[in-house]
Amino acid sequence: MIEIKGAQLIYSSGAVALEAIDLTIKPGMLVFITGESGSGKTSLLKLMMGIEKPTQGKVYVDGSDMADLHGNALAKVRRKIGPVFQELKLLEGKTALENVIFGMRFYGMRLETIRKKSSEALAQVGLQIKADMPIETLSWGERQRVAIARAIARKPAYIIADEPTGSLDEANAIKILSLLAELQTPETAVIITTHATHLIKAMAPFNHVSLAGGRMIALSDEFHDGKQGETTKG
């Protein structure tokens, strides 16, 4: 469970990125975090991943206070998260399969097992046929699928995708959002940020957090009563 309690994030430049954020994300949830550019969506994900520490308040991932974690302890918590970065962060010079494998090299599994899981993940995102192609020969949409495969191969408790529709046309954006939404299982929460609010309506049921100027301006009912629901506010 990811718990954010009264979190505030002010960058060293003095810019207030987030203010008074209270949020609990439980396993099995599909959460969309929406808002305009600069509303604090990426900052919120950074808090969840321990990339930024809250200047006030607390962020807990499975009970661990992210502000207290460093080095290998932080790495251990991050291994529970399958991130899909906005800029993808795939490794040039390596194939699609190697990129997926790379995300699991340090899981202490046998290479054969990692390779099998990675191939399965690529198949799940429909890219098995391009497994051996160098990453730089793939289209942006395909690379995005590789990044998703890298995230899901790890069987994480949380899949966090930052603006996965950012560089895609509407048709491809819906495909990617649908793909991510399908990854939600009772054990896995999927958290997606997007500014394309109009695209997420078809993804129901989901939970919705709407941000503006670093503050939450709307929260779906489920966050209030603890039930899964498709109702959104705002």
């Binding site: 790495a75 090299r105 890298r150």
Partner: protein
């Protein structure tokens, strides 16, 4: 162990990433390592030779009469730790003949053996000066000769050589350390995105660091290997030549010196490889 292939591949990848930079750094480190190989070999030769000379500490006691056994007994009783032996005039002649070597026919110019019998007193070097003075006062002793002045000179020379070697060791150590840590920092700078990604994916620190340490250790060890291979043959040949040319000076066997030098250089290169990489990695990560 499952990741050994991965680490090896990553080290190879890092080495290929900056071929020219690595080649220049490797050359610089090789030159420094060659200087260190020479220094260590020299220090070992001096140290071994000095130990051998120190073990030769002796006083030769010449008598006015032939009461050698009596005086020998007295010396051994008076000075604990000494060992005496009577050297006859004939043995002294043979010894001198062997020291002078073939072709030196100085002794044959004499009709009779010009050398006298004497008592050879072996003793620890620190006892030499004081003991010689006391032996000289024993009844029947004509005069004594000791090699303390030579041994003192050898000691001073050894100390100076060792100090110079340590100074060079520190200089070379610092030089290779700085080159290596700079190289690792450069690698990390080039590989920054990759490291960030690994950290965000939850890679343990060791997983991230090992390829860089591998790169540092490999380059350090390789430079040592090249430097040692290039200089070992020459040093061994030179020492062996000196052993035959300067027979009176106890120069150790060339291969024995080089074996010790090899062990030292291997340990040194590993130490520099590890510490230089750790320092380079830590400082680069802190800076970022």
């Amino acid at each position: 162990m499952g990741n050994v292939k991965y680490y090896t591949g990553e080290v190879w990848f890092l080495l290929k990433q900056q071929k020219t930079g690595n080649a220049v750094m490797l050359m610089s480190m090789t030159l420094l390592m060659a200087l260190l190989t020479l220094t260590i070999a020299w220090a070992l030769v001096v140290n071994d030779a000095a130990s051998a000379v120190r073990a030769e500490s002796e006083i030769d006691v010449y008598l006015t009469d032939d009461t050698y056994d009596v005086v020998s007994d007295r010396i051994e009783r008076m000075f604990q730790g000494t060992e005496t032996r009577v050297v006859s005039a004939e043995e002294a002649y043979r010894n001198m003949d062997s020291i002078l070597g073939e072709g030196q026919n100085v002794l044959s110019l004499f009709d009779e053996n010009p050398l006298e019998s004497y008592i050879e007193v072996k003793l620890p070097i620190e006892m030499a000066g004081e003991t010689a003075a006391k032996i000289e006062k024993i009844t029947g002793v004509d005069y004594v000769r000791d090699n303390k002045a030579v041994l003192d000179a050898v000691n001073s020379f050894t100390k100076l050589s060792i100090r110079l070697s340590l100074f060079l060791l520190a200089g070379v150590g610092m030089g290779t350390f700085l080159i290596l840590s700079g190289l690792i920092r450069q690698s990390i700078h080039q590989y920054r995105d990759h490291i960030d990604t690994m950290q965000l994916l939850g890679a343990p620190n060791a997983f991230i660091q090992i390829p860089f340490f591998g790169e540092g250790i490999f380059l350090s060890f390789l430079s040592m290997l090249i430097a040692f291979s290039a200089s070992a043959w020459g040093i061994t040949a030179l020492l062996n030549k000196m052993r035959t040319a300067v027979m009176w000076f106890p120069i150790p066997q060339g291969h024995a010196v080089m074996l010790k030098t090899a062990v030292f250089m291997a340990g040194f290169s590993l130490l520099i490889g590890i510490t230089g990489s750790i320092f380079g990695f830590r400082s680069a990560i802190k800076k970022a």
